[in-house]
């Protein structure tokens, strides 16, 4: 039964309090009607006959009287159906593309509920993005949540759009309702939203994209619901319609800020940097909605994007995110500045699920070996660079010089890639092998001798060691600049 109440007790930021209410459920949706129209709210706290309601579209223009409040008795829900793909919604899940409401095959609570760990299937197959650095070194696995840690002004949006355009499930023949994208914008500028839309349109991907847009000028309370609406749609398409859904969430930092703003208006005790103490649980309730369920063909894969304030990976949002997600792709400002796109900083980037989703039967048998060796060798490049800064390049040992050479080729040919360029796994791995051939064979300690023999032919003598291996060197098309001032010196020893 829906009761209507007239008037409010007080208004504080996005929160309004009602008194004398009865039979109200926690998290119930509320409709507030004024002369101008109606807005939605959600019950967040209940005490005796008082209810605190969070108004999704903000409290601007509300007065204490002349407001009729109706409690719906239901938590926030959205309508779901197979025609979701290709549609555009606002942050609260209301269609804004002028095509009218979705024909509801099902109506679901946007808060979802936790997937039972027993019901999960361990993610084991990859998504090909066509980007060498990601496919080879931080492979994206179906059902994974792999965030992009970036900073303002870096190319994360371009990268995300490229991933969205090029992403293919590895095996197109496989069962399932195909591949789809749910794009969720939280607090991004109109330009950015347009950029994504245009980019989907141009590549003809728009028909398989569902967009949820909360722009930076939209109310913050609505922003806290946006990812939940988007993920509810994603879960529906994945687990009911059997599609493989890639969810792009941008920008999680704005989301967290909205949460902080909302929390402080509730007068909650702040934790680190003013974020609420439950930030971890809250972020987890979003990220953990990625996954694969046993016996269901679809999957939900997430790529959350977050901009780190001042490029600081230890600030609360990236820090807590890293603890929940299964790895991260970190972008590096220095690489960005010297014109490397995508500027993936290889060493801190990681895909935790990759080891079980690559290799024989998925990508290629030698994938893990190549990836390990590239990581290990590139880690040594920064040592060599550090040393070269001190004693000069001429004084370096032969092996160290080769490392410098390898580092430059690696950055300019392996990491660097065109926005439209799509590389197959084969191409990326072969490129990796060619780059490794710059190094002396004794330095390739992460690869089996057998595999090395296969690639480079057997070793003839120990002295041959320092000479280059037998694969042809990659063409030195790009000019390798001398980077004397690396910002990010990573050394292989432990920090004392």
């Amino acid at each position: 039964m829906a009761m209507e109440y007239i008037g409010l007790k007080d208004i504080n930021g996005p929160l309004v309090t009602l008194e004398g209410v009865q039979n109200i459920s926690n998290e119930e949706m509320v409709e507030l009607r004024t002369k101008e129209g109606s807005r939605l709210g959600r019950v967040v706290t209940l005490e005796a006959d008082k209810a605190v309601v969070q108004v999704l579209s903000g409290t601007q223009g509300l007065g204490l009287d002349k407001v009729n409040t109706r409690f719906t008795g239901k938590p926030m829900r959205i309508a779901l159906g197979s025609e979701l793909t290709g549609r555009i919604f606002n942050g609260a899940g209301v269609p804004i593309d002028g095509l009218g409401p979705v024909y509801p095959e099902e109506i679901r609570d946007v808060n979802g509920s936790a997937i039972n760990p027993v019901s999960r299937a361990y993610p084991r197959n990859y998504i090909r993005t066509g980007i060498s650095s990601i496919d080879t070194l931080v492979t994206l696995i179906r059902g994974q949540k792999l965030p992009i840690f970036s900073g303002s002004g870096m190319s994360h949006n371009r990268l995300a759009a490229q991933i969205a355009r090029q992403a293919r499930i590895s095996d197109e023949r496989e069962e399932g309702g195909g591949f789809g994208i749910v794009f969720c914008a939280m607090g991004v500028t109109k330009d950015v939203a347009d950029y994504f839309r245009r980019s989907f349109e141009e590549s003809g991907a728009l028909t398989r994209v569902t967009m949820f847009l909360n722009l930076s000028s939209d109310p913050i309370v609505e922003r806290t619901m946006t990812p939940r609406c988007a993920l509810t749609a994603a879960e529906y398409l994945a687990f009911e319609k059997g599609m493989h859904i890639l969810v792009i969430l941008t920008d999680m930092s704005s989301y967290a800020e909205a949460l902080r703003e909302f929390s402080s208006s509730r007068g909650e005790i702040p934790g680190r940097k003013g974020y609420p103490g439950y930030l971890y649980s809250d972020l987890a309730s979003i990220y953990e909605r990625a996954g694969v369920i046993k016996g269901k063909p679809g999957s939900v894969t997430q790529i959350p994007i977050l901009t780190m304030p001042n490029d600081d990976i230890t600030s609360p949002v990236p820090d807590l995110t890293g603890y929940i997600t299964e790895g991260q792709i970190v972008l590096d400002r220095y690489l960005d500045q010297i014109g490397i796109y995508p500027s993936v900083s290889v060493l801190p980037s990681l895909s935790r699920l990759m080891k079980d989703g690559i290799g024989e039967g998925y990508t290629r048998a030698d994938h893990q070996a190549v990836a390990n060796q590239l990581f290990a060798s590139y880690a040594k490049v920064s040592d060599a660079r550090g040393l070269a800064n001190v004693i000069g390049e001429e004084e370096l040992s032969e092996a160290d010089k080769r490392y410098l050479d390898f580092g430059n080729h690696f950055e300019h040919e392996f990491l660097n890639q065109g926005v439209e360029e799509e590389r197959s796994i084969e191409e990326s791995l072969e490129l990796g092998w060619r780059l490794l051939s710059i190094l002396p064979r004794s330095e390739l300690d992460r690869v089996d001798d057998k595999l090395l023999d296969e690639k480079f032919g057997p070793v003839k003598s120990k002295k041959e060691d320092i000479t280059p291996n037998t694969l042809p060197l990659p063409e030195t098309g790009a000019k390798a600049p001398k980077d004397k001032k690396r910002k990010q010196a990573v050394d292989t020893g432990p920090s004392a």
Binding site: E27, T45, S119, S281, K462, S495
Partner: protein, 595 residues
């Protein structure tokens, strides 16, 4: 009619009831029409505050709250092994049958299977005087674990009736006893125990056996004791979970309790998947036969996350009381601390450091102090070892959880970001880690592994720390200017790092290495060091030793020598001797030619 207690306010997982006299502190209560499981966390003269272990959306003011009369308890009995529970011991497999892939709230399921009949042999007879903790019956729980059913620790008396051997489920009485007060009690296979109360023991025993993990850097350099405590702090991506998994798979404990506290759902699935296929090399049985999992992933209710740690340690203590060595892995205690913080915030308590409640250190201490090697009430000996992962914010070890944990653990395995970036796994930083168990465990190593074990470890450690200081110089001026002896130190340290400390969890042989092979590896590396040192003294150039390829061969020993073919080491000694003799000859010849 009975007066009813009703909900007064709701704020996230915290609710209050305005009446006060019906509930006791820490009592388990049922909230709302759905009967959500909850616990009383504060009682004042105005209101009782209750934290709810399930999702509170849809709850209304005015719904009833019912007491259970007992603190939050778990059921202890056969059926725990091989199972996977949530934070309050609800079996997740049964919940899946009931509510499908997504967890619904308000599900009432019994903790253990009440239907299943166990093959019970009764161990007592009429007239026996029994006290708390005495074993009354046994039944095979899995192929390798014999479950010993015990008297509840707080019950004692004279046996007046016993059931014969046979098939019973956990609710059927096995024994009846008359207590001192003349009251008759029925004892079943299972009993309940409050999770926040440590189970009593007769006395604590000396710690003197290592928890062998098969991980070289731990067993050799930073050993953990059976009954000991250990913390593994590390930023994300440094391999905390991987290290915990390796412990759970390979440690020589009889029982493993793995608590996934506020971590990733996919990780728990991985544990389930992997352990289901893995065979324990020692017993030849499946790993799951000795493992119980508690999974409260990060998106499951926060209050149950707080409880999961206690549930885990209570199950561990229960098996310890049967005389088993139990290892408890808690991944991660930081999530537990954060759950405390979150609930403390909802209670509007005055926060201490970084928003954590002021009682954080005492809670941590209370948890780690439940570890120990003990003589139990029934005179068996058992142990609970606790290995807790810590996820410091921003990988900064000075944050409150890491710092406070450090005060209560005796082994500290610091995981290092830079090592992880270089894909050096396990990424345990040998400069920051420590173990206080050397003294307790050295007698064991000397007696059972090798007399020189502690000495070898000392040499290894000093070489590593020497390397650390040399690296400072190398960073400034490069290796070329160092004298040959220091170059050798760097080379040997490299062998130790890549050939000994680095261990490949995915390599068939390298994933678990017995103590004996660890000893042999240390011996041969230090033998190489001594030999090479001699050569240097006699005028051999260090580069010629490096070029001989001996070092590379030593590094590959971990892959080349199978764990069960340790006699292959003889060949390495011979090769070292031969090559060294040759190098000496070469250098003499060169010298005489030059002269």
């Amino acid at each position: 009619m009975e007066k009813k207690d009703v909900i007064h306010s709701i704020n996230g997982p915290v609710i209050t009831v305005s009446r006060t006299d019906s509930f006791r502190m820490l009592e388990m209560v049922f909230v709302g029409e759905a009967g959500l499981i909850a616990e009383v966390i504060s009682v004042s003269d105005e209101k009782t505050t209750i934290q709810v272990y399930e999702d509170t959306s849809g709850l209304q003011v005015g719904e009833p709250v019912e007491g259970s009369g007992a603190p939050l308890s778990v059921t202890l009995g056969p059926g725990i092994m091989q199972n996977i529970f949530d934070g309050i011991e609800r079996p997740l497999r049964i919940m899946e049958e009931r509510s499908g892939a997504f967890i619904a709230s308000g599900l009432h399921v019994s903790n253990l299977d009440e239907e299943k009949k166990w093959d019970v042999s009764v161990k007592v007879k009429v007239g026996d005087k029994l006290s708390g903790g005495d074993i009354i019956a046994t039944c095979p729980e899995t192929e390798i674990i014999l479950h010993k059913c015990m008297m509840p620790p707080d019950v004692s008396g004279t046996v007046t009736w016993v059931a014969g051997d046979g098939q019973y489920n956990i609710t059927q009485p096995i024994v009846k006893v008359e207590t001192a007060t003349g009251h008759e009690e029925e004892i079943c296979l299972a009993h309940r125990w409050p999770v926040k109360t440590p189970r009593p023991v007769r006395q604590r025993e000396m710690i003197n056996r290592p928890l062998v993990t098969g991980q070289r850097v731990i067993d050799a350099l930073f050993p953990i004791a059976k009954g000991g405590t250990c913390a593994i702090p590390g930023g994300f991506g440094t391999g905390k979970t991987m290290t915990q998994h390796q412990f759970a798979k390979w440690s020589d404990a009889d029982i493993v309790v793995y608590v996934g506290c506020g971590e990733r759902g996919n990780e728990m699935t991985q544990v389930l998947d992997e352990f289901g296929d893995l065979v324990d090399p020692k017993s030849g049985h499946l790993m799951t036969d000795r493992t119980v999992l508690i999974a409260n992933t990060s998106n499951m209710p926060v209050a149950a996350r707080e409880a999961s740690i206690y549930t885990g340690v209570t199950l561990a203590e229960y098996y310890r009381d049967m005389g088993y060595d139990v290892a408890l892995m808690a991944d991660s205690t930081s999530r537990w601390a954060e759950a405390l913080r979150e609930i403390s915030g909802r209670l509007e308590e005055m926060p201490a450091e970084e928003g954590f409640p002021a009682y954080l250190p005492s809670r941590l201490a209370g948890f780690y102090e439940r570890a120990g090697s003990t003589r139990n009430l029934n005179d068996t000996e058992g142990s609970v070892s606790i290995i807790g992962a810590v996820s410091p914010q921003g990988a900064d070890f000075s944050e409150p959880v890491t710092q406070n944990t450090k005060r209560f653990v005796r082994c500290f395995l610091a995981l290092d970001k830079n090592l992880a970036y270089a894909r050096h796994y396990p990424a345990i930083n040998w400069n920051l880690s420590y173990s206080e168990y050397y003294e307790d465990l050295d007698p064991y190593y000397i007696k059972n592994v090798g007399e020189d074990f502690p000495e070898l470890r000392g040499k290894l450690m000093s070489l590593l720390s020497e390397e650390t200081s040399l690296q400072e110089i190398v960073k400034l001026i490069g290796t070329d200017v160092l004298p040959d002896t220091q170059k050798l130190t760097l080379e040997i340290a490299r062998i130790i790092r890549t050939g000994f400390l680095q261990q490949n969890a995915y390599h068939e042989q390298d994933t678990y290495v017995p103590l004996e092979k660890q000893l042999y590896m240390m011996r041969i590396i230090l033998y190489m060091h001594d030999k090479a040192g001699e050569l240097l003294e006699r005028g051999v150039d260090v580069t010629s030793i490096i070029d001989s390829g001996l070092f590379e061969r030593l590094i590959k020993i971990k892959y080349d020598v199978p764990n069960d073919k340790l006699d292959l080491f003889d060949q390495y000694y011979k090769d070292i001797d031969d090559t060294c003799a040759e190098l000496l000859k070469d250098s003499k010849r060169a010298a005489s030619q030059a002269g």
